[in-house]
């Protein structure tokens, strides 16, 4: 990819300046032209004000990274120049409105091209308002970098037709004013990106989770709003009628987690999502699901911690959280690697939850859940629904059903409630195969110990079965197997690390990439073998304390001693990792 086939665009302003809608307009323009977009939204926990920016990397091939240095910028407010001008790539172009930004920007840097538009003059017609500055600038931008302007026109139709034709018209006129201005004033820009004409979806990881859940047969979803997980709730709420989903905003996370346990016990596929602080409130229910053996899926979206932390910023520091709970119980932890994978893993999680009758945790993060990206339409037909030992009925002459029958694989046949003659009670206390409580029937009798010694290992045995049945994805290596340096990552850093590896290899360095999607359970021997096969491992973690390295060490005894960490609230980029590798002299090629 040394040939220039992408462009990085940044749109910056205050919250409320229309950053998101400009981004949507721009992103859709690209995705409908068949271009690839990777967008990152740097926003704040304040509704208005605060400084916010969106960065889009548009390319003719898949762009793995939102990039570091923008080449094109739309600056929407007074604060923007001081924040973003220094970041610009030399020779980049900057659009702004003279009423918002009055300073002479060339004083800051003279190696950029500045285009100052005058909203009042250019859009001096009825129905406009200063909040539409962004629309005008978007027109100029889209024209300037040679994209298809007709998509924008459609976009306003779709977006505003419900609000009335006048709104559509005025937006189109303002947009057009920007286009016309650019036609006249913008010198030829070096990039003219050509799409392949295939329309792609432009969506977030949260949207993809929602779609994966629907594809995987979700029927009950309960959640309490919490950034950056709320997108799933918003998405599913909209689909509720169409897809016949129960979507419930509960009074808190305690209720949400327990609600899905009720639904799971009834025999429907159920999920919830939250972020760190909310997941803290679900830990007790997680153990309940483990003990009652109720299939449930918990999405936990990481954001900057601890406590409320930096709620709209990126971090990967909740491994210890999702591994918590009182006592031991089986669970699965999956950290999807990108937007496509979010779709796949959501559906897979529902299958695994039912097959093993355990809680499955999908560990996402702010970046994965909220960044926009172009992806090909999802192939729903590839999703299979496997319900494991699920039963609605028993044969007429069946012996009295045992809900928690001890089996070799630890998984008991599961008859869901409603069937005549085989009633049972599921209890959070230790119980026997019938579900009857040790403390009710065996209180203090020596047999209580025997039951305990059968039932506790029965549940824990499921983790072994997962490994035996190859239901746990081993870490995967991309790049040359014998590379001198291995960058180890997990979850959403996949694309950045891939991007960094490509760059490093292009620079002649010998690197590969070791990626974990499934975090727990971990196949000790297999993982150790893979780790040992690497020459020199450097962990790349979006946190301060290398939580993944500690998990690997605690599970396998393999110690990774070097790492690249970022915990300032931003996601990595390929460039960031490349710089760190070089700065730390991690490799002598």
């Amino acid at each position: 990819m040394s040939e220039k086939r992408n462009v990085i665009v940044r749109i910056a302003g205050a919250a409320g300046d229309g950053i998101a809608s400009t981004g949507e307009l721009f992103g859709k323009t690209c995705s409908r032209m068949g271009l690839h977009v990777m967008a990152y939204n740097s926003y704040q926990s304040a509704i208005r004000g605060g400084h916010v920016w969106l960065q889009l990397n548009v390319g003719e091939e898949k762009t793995r990274c939102h990039g570091e240095q923008p080449e094109v910028a739309l600056l929407l407010n007074k604060t923007s120049p001081e924040v973003h001008i220094p970041d610009m790539k030399p020779g980049g172009i900057v659009f702004y409105d003279v009423s918002k930004i009055k300073d002479d920007l060339t004083v800051m840097r003279d190696d950029l091209n500045y285009y100052a538009l005058d909203f009042k003059a250019l859009c001096d017609f009825e129905g406009t308002s200063p909040v539409m500055v962004n629309v005008m600038l978007a027109g100029a931008l889209i024209q300037a970098i040679g994209l298809d302007t007709s998509v924008g026109m459609e976009f306003f139709e779709e977006k505003f037709s419900k609000k009335g034709q006048e709104i559509v018209d005025v937006n189109q006129k303002v947009f057009n004013a920007g286009i016309e201005w650019a036609k006249e004033n913008v010198k030829d820009f070096s990039v003219a990106l050509k799409g392949d004409g295939t329309k792609r979806m432009f969506l977030t990881g949260n949207d993809a989770f929602g779609m994966g859940f629907i594809a995987g047969g979700l029927k009950s979803y309960a959640a309490y709003p919490m950034s950056p997980a709320t997108g799933i709730l918003h998405y599913l709420s909209k689909q509720a009628k169409k897809c016949k989903l129960l979507v419930k905003q509960t009074e808190d996370e305690l209720a949400a987690a327990n609600f899905i346990i009720g639904s799971g016990q009834a025999g429907v596929r159920a999920a919830t999502a939250t972020a760190g602080g909310g997941f803290c409130l679900m830990v007790e229910a997680l153990g309940l699901a483990g003990m009652l053996e109720v299939p449930t899926v918990f999405v936990s979206v990481m954001r900057g911690g601890p406590s409320t932390g930096i709620p709209t910023k990126q971090e990967q520091a909740d491994i210890k959280l999702v591994m918590g709970g009182n006592g031991d119980f089986p669970r699965i932890v999956i950290a999807p690697k990108d937007t496509d994978d979010a779709f796949v893993q959501a559906a897979r999680a529902l299958n695994l939850a039912e097959k093993y009758q355990v809680p499955v945790i999908i560990l996402s993060d702010l970046f994965l859940s909220e960044h926009y990206q172009t992806v090909d339409p999802f192939d729903f037909s590839k999703v299979t629904i496997e319900r494991g030992k699920y039963m609605r009925e028993l044969p007429k002459d069946a012996a009295r059903y045992k809900r928690y029958e001890v089996t070799d694989d630890g998984i008991s046949p599961r008859l869901v409630p409603g069937h005549e003659g085989h009633m049972y009670c599921s209890g959070s206390d230790e119980h026997d195969e019938d579900g009857e409580l040790v403390s009710d029937i065996l209180a203090g009798l020596p047999r209580a110990k025997e039951v305990r010694l059968k039932m506790h290992p029965k549940r824990m045995r499921k983790e072994e079965t997962m490994l035996k049945e190859n239901d746990v994805l081993p870490p995967e290596i991309t790049g040359p197997a014998d590379a001198k340096l291995t960058l180890m990552g997990w979850g959403s850093t996949f694309d950045y690390i891939e991007d960094a590896c490509e760059t490093l290899r292009a620079d002649g360095l010998s690197v590969n990439h070791l990626h974990f999607t499934d975090l727990y359970p971990m196949d000790k021997e297999k993982v150790k073998e893979i780790l040992r096969s690497c020459n020199e491992i450097v962990a790349v973690e979006n946190n301060m304390t290398n939580q993944m390295c500690k998990l690997i060490l605690g599970e396998t005894g393999f110690e990774i001693t070097r790492s690249i960490n970022r915990f300032d609230g931003e996601p990595f980029t390929g460039e960031y990792i490349v710089n760190e590798v070089k700065k730390k002299e991690l490799i002598n090629a």
Binding site: K219, S220, K241, L254, F259, G262, F378, P417, I441
Partner: protein, 293 residues
């Protein structure tokens, strides 16, 4: 709305596999008996009933009755019961537990469940004490009552479950006493029949740790509000009864049917979710994709 069955059902059908391990004389025996009788008299089949409880002496009930059951976490029976009910509204769902469970740690869920109005029944077995943890103050323990955790007297006003329920928009609000099974069976049947969230605070004395709120105390200090001419459709009157000093009213304080939770979402709930096919067909799949194109 779940149905009754054609089979003939008797109390025996609800007899559990294990004998309750409550203390002899515990009020909870009465609640269990009355519940079994109510279900039998309504000819509801055991397999059509799910009973969900929290943790506490009272919450052991689902283990002692022959229906489906879940014995869950302290204070969390209501969200679980609602998650179950909305996933399979073909079944009758009854939640039960103690005063600590429902009015202490669980009162937030209670308030929200009442306004939500899922079609289910909730029975609190109210002994004004924490039984299972051997005798601490509970949200319904009287002001100044001495307990293990308040040896110098309870410094808090007790909650008033009737007033709270009426204010929270509960569509069926009642109070009973396990020592008055005749009245209680009628209340439970009315509650189970009620379309919407039905709440019954049931005095169920703890013979071991509460020497104040005894069966005798309730026998002497309660009266039947229906016999006293109470109009359960009158909210103001219900509130006044709830706030009475002196004798304690039992009976149906307030009842008014309104759309249940499922009603506005009837497209989703036309048949129980558990009976619906999983996943989406090709057409719907491409519609879902198209939203993002």
């Amino acid at each position: 709305m779940p149905e009754t069955t054609d089979r003939e059902i008797t109390v025996k059908d609800f007899k559990g596999h294990i004998n309750p391990d409550w203390c002899p004389g515990c009020g909870d025996f009465g609640v269990l008996n009355v519940l079994q009788r109510s279900l039998a008299e309504m000819n509801i089949a055991p397999e059509d009933v799910m009973i969900v409880s929290g943790i506490g002496c009272s919450s052991n009930l689902p283990g002692f009755i022959n229906t489906y059951g879940m014995h869950t976490l302290h204070g969390r029976s209501l969200p679980i019961a609602q998650g179950f009910k909305l996933a399979n509204h073909g079944m009758h769902v009854i939640a039960c537990g103690g005063d600590g469970d429902g009015l202490g740690i669980g009162v937030g869920h209670l308030i929200h469940s009442m306004r939500r109005n899922v079609d289910m029944t909730y029975i609190i077995m109210d002994n004004s004490i924490y039984g299972l943890t051997t005798g601490q103050t509970s949200p319904t323990s009287g002001f100044n009552m001495k307990t293990k955790s308040t040896p110098f007297g309870n410094p808090e006003l007790p909650v008033n479950p009737m007033a709270l329920a009426i204010s929270a928009g509960c569509s069926f609000v009642a109070r009973g006493f396990s020592g008055n099974p005749k009245q209680l069976v009628e209340i439970y049947k009315a509650a189970i029949k009620h379309k919407g969230f039905a709440f019954i605070d049931t005095f169920s004395p703890c013979v071991t740790f509460n020497k104040v709120n005894t069966a005798q105390y309730y026998r002497e200090n309660t009266y039947d509000i229906q016999e006293d001419g109470h109009d359960s459709s009158d909210m103001q009157a219900a509130f006044a009864r709830a706030m009475e000093d002196g004798k304690i009213g039992t009976g149906i304080f307030y009842q008014k049917e309104r759309p249940t939770y499922e009603t506005p979402e009837k497209e989703t709930f036309d048949i129980p979710l558990v009976d619906q096919p999983l996943g989406v067909d090709e057409k719907l799949a491409s519609e879902l994709n198209a939203q993002f194109l």
